[in-house]
């Protein structure tokens, strides 16, 4: 039987002491970061405690409807986060819808795919597997999608003269936006490519480390990690393609004109 070393409040308090030390350093050096550090730390603690309670409830219910609802709420929050990270976001519903749709198609599909064909819990929607897997895939897909969309809208703005010159010479919108689209896709995929390259040498991924700390055999933990990495890489690519090419379609129109009027002004 697996034995887990349970942590008590003193253990967490000692770890929090390190953060208080950082805050003290910030005050001493006049960095004015102490307030932000503390707010982020309190947010993290509250959010994690809340999700722990939610997960406990979900695990006890093991209901497909409640599991689905939790997944939907996670995806909608991810869509909002992705939109908030844009320097020049798309105006109207597109600002929220583009990233959310990309993540919905990418993350939900791949989670269902992995649950039904690889992990195969019983029942397949078992929230103990479904919610953590969706969370990990969604977190990484959100990073890729938001980076890709941001690179696309910023790139289209800074390179607008070159794009319009190509359109004026008879290029279609996909040809004219190819360079910006390629850069956006590279930006979207860079974190996961770096993560895969450095895994196991530079850092031990969180999921695998968590499982090992919980007493799982390292080989089993690594197998789960490899599966998750493949799923994340595959879906970040798919989600980014949906977001970037959907974004190109929105930044141009049926007459193959550049439509930067569909972007909000840049944030300060």
């Amino acid at each position: 039987m697996i034995t887990v070393i349970s942590l008590d409040l003193t253990d967490l308090g000692i770890a929090a002491g390190l953060l208080i030390l950082d805050a003290g350093l910030s005050i001493w050096l006049g960095l004015k970061l102490e307030r932000r550090l503390m707010i982020a730390a309190v947010r993290m603690v509250l959010q994690l405690l809340m999700i722990a309670l939610v997960l406990k409830g979900l695990f006890a219910l093991a209901s497909p409807a409640w599991t689905g609802l939790a997944a939907l709420v996670m995806i909608l929050f991810a869509g909002r986060e992705a939109m908030a990270r844009q320097d020049r976001r798309f105006l109207g519903l597109w600002g929220y819808g583009l990233g959310t749709t990309a993540m919905l198609t990418a993350s939900a599909l791949v989670t269902v795919f992995a649950l039904t064909t690889q992990v195969r819990p019983d029942p397949w929607f078992d929230p103990r597997y479904a919610i953590p897997m969706l969370g990990m895939i969604l977190g990484n897909t959100m990073t890729g999608v938001s980076l890709g969309l941001n690179a696309l809208s910023s790139g289209a703005w800074t390179e607008r003269r070159g794009i319009e010159a190509q359109l004026a010479l008879g290029a279609n919108r996909w040809e004219a936006m190819r360079g910006v689209g390629r850069k956006a896709m590279t930006t979207a995929l860079t974190p996961i490519v770096n993560s895969m390259s450095a895994s196991g040498i530079v850092f031990l991924p969180g999921m695998m480390t968590g499982q090992i700390l919980a007493g799982v055999d390292p080989l089993e933990a690594v197998k789960y990690q490899i599966l998750i990495m493949f799923l994340i890489a595959g879906r970040t690519g798919f989600g980014s393609v949906v977001a970037v090419y959907g974004g190109i379609a929105r930044l141009t129109d049926a007459r193959h004109r550049l439509r930067l009027d569909r972007l909000a002004p840049a944030k300060d």
Binding site: E159, R161, G162, I163, E164, A165, Q166, L167, A168, L169, G170, A171, N172, G179, D253, A254, R255, H256, R257, L258, R259
Partner: protein, 198 residues
């Protein structure tokens, strides 16, 4: 023949204009009066409404890129998206005669973009458009950055385009140049316009 009926867009009152084959209309008026907006609307580069036909073909009956290969807009300061000149041309062989006519050697295709002078950019931008053999040229101050010799070379190329049955709309602040190439002027002022003899 280029036929423009009720062409309107933001910051521009409706324009009706017919340009016969082989003719150029000079587009004149103070800076900021809407000349460039007008050319961009004809090229369908910005949202606009109205009917524009070239040799009987209505632009909405063909794809935007096909229209712009026939009705090609050349800005005053052409933009570039690659590192060297060559990749900006779809047909190098078709462009070579135009480079030669404007006093540029064939090795210009290897030149780095960031080392081009204003005049070289302007002439290469025009060559890039002419190499597409458009039926209508929309020229936005095509010689504003050129010396007298280069300006004459460009004007000869525009005349040659007209002689071959093409049409042109040319924004210019140079009245003498307008008179050399066009018989009529479409003058913009305070968002209004008027067609008048030169």
């Amino acid at each position: 023949m280029l036929e423009i009926q009720n062409l309107r867009r933001h910051k521009l009152e409706p324009v009706d204009l017919t340009v016969q084959a082989g003719h150029c209309i000079a587009v004149t008026g103070p800076s900021g009066s809407g000349k460039t907006l007008f050319l961009r609307a004809v090229a369908d580069l910005d949202p606009n409404e109205g009917t524009v036909r070239l040799n009987g073909i209505e632009r909405n009956d063909i794809l935007g890129p096909d229209w712009r290969r026939k009705v090609t807009y050349v800005p005053a300061d052409p933009a570039w998206w690659g590192d060297t000149v060559g990749p900006h041309f779809t047909d190098i062989a078709a462009a070579e005669p135009y480079l030669e006519a404007m006093g540029l050697s064939a090795d210009a295709f290897d030149w780095p973009i960031d080392r081009l002078s204003t005049g070289e950019r302007q002439r290469l931008g025009l060559a890039r458009a002419l190499a597409l053999s458009p039926d209508c040229l929309l020229l936005d101050e095509p010689t504003s950055g050129l010396d007298e010799t280069s300006r004459s070379q460009v004007e000869i190329l525009i005349s040659s385009h007209l002689t071959q049955g093409g049409v042109a709309l040319m924004v210019t602040h140079d009245l003498a140049q307008a008179r050399r190439l066009a018989a009529l002027s479409l003058r913009f002022e305070n968002a209004h316009h008027e067609l008048m003899p030169l």
